[in-house]
Amino acid sequence: MTNLLSDLLSKRDWLVADGATGTNLFAMGLEAGEAPELWNVDQPDKIRALYNGFIEAGSDLILTNSFGGTRARLKLHNAQDRASELNRIAAELARECVDKAGRSVIVAGSMGPTGELLEPVGPLTHDAAVEMFQEQAEGLIAGGTDVLWAETISSEEEMRAASEAAANIGAPFCGTMSFDTAGRTMMGVTSRGYAGITGTLPASPIAFGANCGTGAPDLMRTVLGLSEAAPDAALIAKANAGIPKYVDGIIEYDGTPELMGDYAVLARDAGARIIGGCCGSKPEHIRAIRNALETTPPGGRPSLNLIREKLGEFTSADDGASGLEAPKRERRRRRG
């Protein structure tokens, strides 16, 4: 399949993705509780400003403002019947901005979690999840999306459903998970575990990796795990700009642009090909990422010590994958 992302990846060593969508929209006046996706229609100039901010800062790939664009999420704002429209317009606005960029910038269609638990642990069936993602994906593709981009996913089942939706409509696919629980996703998936299943997804991802989570050090450790398990894969790293701090009544992420520049170099040296930010990352962080990648020569694979030295402490002792051989709690007889 030829597409812009594969094409750029074959020509370039690394690509710069974008930064945060949500936290930047809140800075532009989005109220807590408001659905960001409604702004695609109600405040299109602000969405254009968000996209253009990243394009001007040097992003080679921007995500559409459609993270909560599945029917399940929109339902909480009573906008479930606008899923198709809101996703299409999210992509159309992005398309409009990148077409004026004067260079190749990829429109990646963001698909976030449904917010519901999938079978077997929750009530949402696989088929219903695929249907929701497909409705979103069709809207995104109709609006001019180059590649579908599932992000912040925590369960294998949900990643599989998003991927199946992409496969059903023959669209290119990428997927990142959020490893926020002592190195694993909330549902217990390790970096190696995720790398292991990517080959079995209905739409094989062009690139895959990690986003969000708990700050740059932990995300870097995840990237090391992914690249160890899948040395030839095109990996994605999108770290939060530090961790949120409460200062004078508002929440601020404490990661500086310099720190994000250091993180980007480490991510590249660890094997990531698409590097950007997540929550708290502003255009200035993306500019620092681009600048650091352009001016710092490639180094060797970073050690955990180097990551700690440059980016700060990890939030947990290990990445959750090392203890897999440890014996489970001693049990009584298994029941047939």
Binding site: T23, G33, T181, R184, M186, G188, Y246
Partner: protein, 232 residues
């Protein structure tokens, strides 16, 4: 099939064996087996409160430890909580009839502007599993709904959850309102959610930040005991 793998007949086990088996079955999230175990113990004349504490709560305590220590994850805990719920649905009416002692009552909800509920639901389930009563207000709660529920339910604990950095500050609005109304000291206030941390909990005046559902249960027990000792 070797002897070891033969099916276990729950009704043939001694009380002690059955209780241990129920801990294992909770760990494995076996709903039907838990229902059966609860009925067998009741049939043998056990007090509902003993079934709750010795079989279910103790079993969920083990699940909680392994969740806290990163051995079990959300999917396993949800299955265990569902099994526990099946047992609780039998015990609940009986507990009310027999006037069993109460640990405490928690009002829990996601704060205004925030529509996430998986973590909050997990805390609610684990709290029930530990023997607390739980009143779940759902998502997107304004300060008025928390206060109304705390008063109406005669609760002892307030639990607030937020998954967005933009909604976290609302927790302070709720706590400040409790202070204004002179109600703050009547409740144990626990906060949690992915972007929170201990520093934030302290800054807004909560009693504790709870990293996960297992820690929430431990903290609630600890603070409830402390509070009880103060007032007793």
């Amino acid at each position: 099939m070797s002897d070891e793998e033969e099916d276990i007949i729950l009704s043939e086990l001694s009380d002690d064996e059955l209780v241990l088996q129920m801990h294992d079955d909770l760990y494995d999230g076996l709903k039907d087996e838990i229902t059966e175990g609860v009925n067998i113990l009741l049939g043998r004349g056990w007090m509902p409160y003993d079934v709750l504490t010795k079989a279910l709560v103790e079993g969920m305590r083990i699940v909680g430890i392994d969740f806290r220590d990163g051995i079990l994850f959300v999917p396993e805990v949800l299955l265990a909580a569902n099994a526990m719920k099946a047992g609780m649905s039998i015990l609940k009416p009986l507990l009310a009839e027999t006037g069993a002692p109460r640990l405490g009552k928690m009002v829990i909800g996601t704060v205004k502007g925030d529509i996430h509920d998986i973590g909050k639901n997990l805390v609610g389930m684990m709290m029930e599993g530990a023997g607390f009563e739980v009143v779940d207000l759902g998502i997107n709660n304004a300060v008025e709904s928390y206060i109304e529920a705390l008063e109406k339910e005669d609760a002892t604990i307030l639990g607030m959850s937020a998954l967005l950095t933009t909604t976290m500050p609302y927790m302070k609005v709720v706590i400040d309102t409790l202070v204004e109304k002179g109600m703050r000291d009547d409740y144990i206030v626990l906060v949690g959610g992915a972007p929170l941390n201990e520093e934030f909990g302290k800054a807004i005046g909560a009693d504790a930040y709870c990293r996960d559902a297992a820690v929430a249960v431990e903290t609630a027990k600890e603070w409830s005991a402390r509070k009880h000792n103060q007032t007793a």
